[in-house]
Point group: C2
Chain length 201, copies 2
DNA sequence: TTTGTTGTAGGACGGTCATCCTACACCTGC
DNA sequence: GCAGGTGTAGGATGACCGTCCTACAACAAA
C-alpha cells in the first residue's frame, strides 16, 4: 500500500470505474475524484485517455495471470482448476449482478467504439482461453482442448450477461451446477496420474 | 416505404446506430446525418435522447414479436422453431461479427449507465424467454421449460460475445451445431402429435 | 385573404469533455 | 544558497454534447 505510486492509484481507480460505468462514460474528473488528485494533472502521468485504457488492460492481464497461477497452486487437478474459473460467477456475484463480466463488457464496448485497443483487450480473453485449453489437454482432450475452452468461456459469458440483466442468482447457481456436471463428463475417463504443473513454454 | 413518417425514419436510424456505435456514443448529429434532417429539429419529435431510446426499444420489441410470429408460421415443430432462434447467430453473422447481439449489448450498456430504461430493454430478452419457454412446454418439458429457455438464451449470448471478440465463424458454426444436438436430446422423447399452434392468451 | 396547424431549418445556450499550459511546491545534489 | 528534476494544482482552450428557441415554409380551414 505504501509503495504504490500515484500512477498505480490512477490505473486502479480507472480499472474499477471502467468496469462499473464503462470506458466512455468515465471521465477524467471521475478518476480524479476517486484518486483525490487534480484533474489537469493527468497529463503528467498519461498523455491520453487511451493510454490509461492500455494501462488498465495491462493491469487486468497481470492480475489475471496472477489469479491463474494462484489457482494452479491451490488446485492440482485440472477439473478443480476449471471449477475455480466457473465459480467466479458466484464468488464475484455481487459485482456481476450489476456490471456483468469485466472482460466481456469491455471487449463489447470497445468493439462498438471501434477502439484501437480492441485487440489488446481481447488478450485477457485469450489468457483464460489458453489456460483453460491447457487444463483440458491435461484432462486428455488434446484434440478438442481449444473448442472446450471456448465453450466454457462462451457459457460463462452468457450466464454473466443474463445475470446482470435479470439479477437472478438462482439462475446463476443452476447454470454453475450444470457447467460443473458437464465438466465432470469430460473428466471421468481421464487418466488420474500424470498431471503436470508446467505450463507451455 | 412511402407511408413512413419522419419519426419512423429517426427511430430506425437510431436503432441501427445504437446497435453499431452504442447508445451513448451516438449523438443527435449522427442520427440527424443519417436521416438527413436538421439537428435542432429533433426536439419537435423527441424531447430527450431517452425518449428516442424508448422508441427504439419499442420498435425492437415490435420487430421481435413479428419475427417470432413468423417463425411460428414457418415452423410447426417446436424443435424447428427453437432452431430458428439458434440460427440467428449464423444468419446475422455479418453484423454479430462486429457488434455482437443487439439485445445483450444494449442491456449491458444501459446497466453501466444505470439508465432508467434498463428494465424496458430487458423486456426484449423476456420476449424471447417467454417464447422459448412456450416451445419447451410444447416439447413436454413443462417443469424445466423456463430453465431451458434461459439456458438457450445464455448459450447464444455467450457465443455472440465471443464471436464479436474473436471474429471466428468456425467457432460459431461449431457451437450452433452443438446447440442443435443438445436441443435434439430434449426433443426425442417428446410426443410427436399434440403440438398446439396457440400461444398463451 | 386570413388564420392556424404541422413540420423544418439553423443557430444559441450552458454544460462537460479531453487536452494542454503555466505556476508552484518539494526534494536532491552541488 | 542554488539549480534542476519530479510531481502537483488549477485554470484556459476548443470541441462537442443535449437541449431549447425562434424564424419560416407548406398547407388546410375559415
Amino acid at each position: 500500500m505504501s509503495d504504490k505510486t500515484t500512477c498505480d492509484h490512477i490505473v486502479e481507480a480507472a480499472d474499477q470505474l471502467f468496469y462499473r460505468q464503462g470506458y466512455e462514460h468515465t471521465s477524467f474528473s471521475d478518476i480524479a475524484d476517486a484518486v483525490q488528485i487534480s484533474r489537469g494533472n493527468f497529463y503528467y502521468h498519461f498523455k491520453t485517455k487511451a493510454e490509461i485504457l492500455d494501462a488498465v488492460i495491462d493491469l487486468r492481464i497481470g492480475n489475471t495471470r496472477k489469479m491463474l497461477e494462484r489457482w494452479e497452486g491451490e488446485a492440482k487437478h485440472p477439473e478443480d482448476r476449471i471449477k475455480r474459473y466457473i465459480h467466479i460467477l458466484l464468488t464475484n456475484w455481487s459485482k456481476i449482478k450489476y456490471f456483468g463480466c469485466p472482460v466481456g463488457t469491455l471487449c463489447t464496448e470497445l468493439a462498438k467504439l471501434n477502439h484501437t485497443s480492441q485487440e489488446e483487450a481481447s488478450k485477457i480473453f485469450t489468457l483464460f482461453r489458453t489456460w483453460l485449453r491447457q487444463q483440458f489437454i491435461l484432462l486428455g482432450h488434446k484434440k478438442d482442448a481449444d473448442a472446450l475452452a471456448m465453450h466454457v468461456l462462451a457459457w460463462s459469458q452468457g450466464v454473466a450477461t443474463l445475470a446482470s440483466t435479470f439479477h437472478d442468482k438462482k439462475f446463476v447457481s443452476k447454470e454453475v451446477k450444470q457447467m460443473c456436471e458437464w465438466l465432470k463428463s469430460y473428466t471421468e475417463n481421464a487418466t488420474q496420474t500424470e498431471y503436470s504443473t508446467n505450463q507451455n513454454k
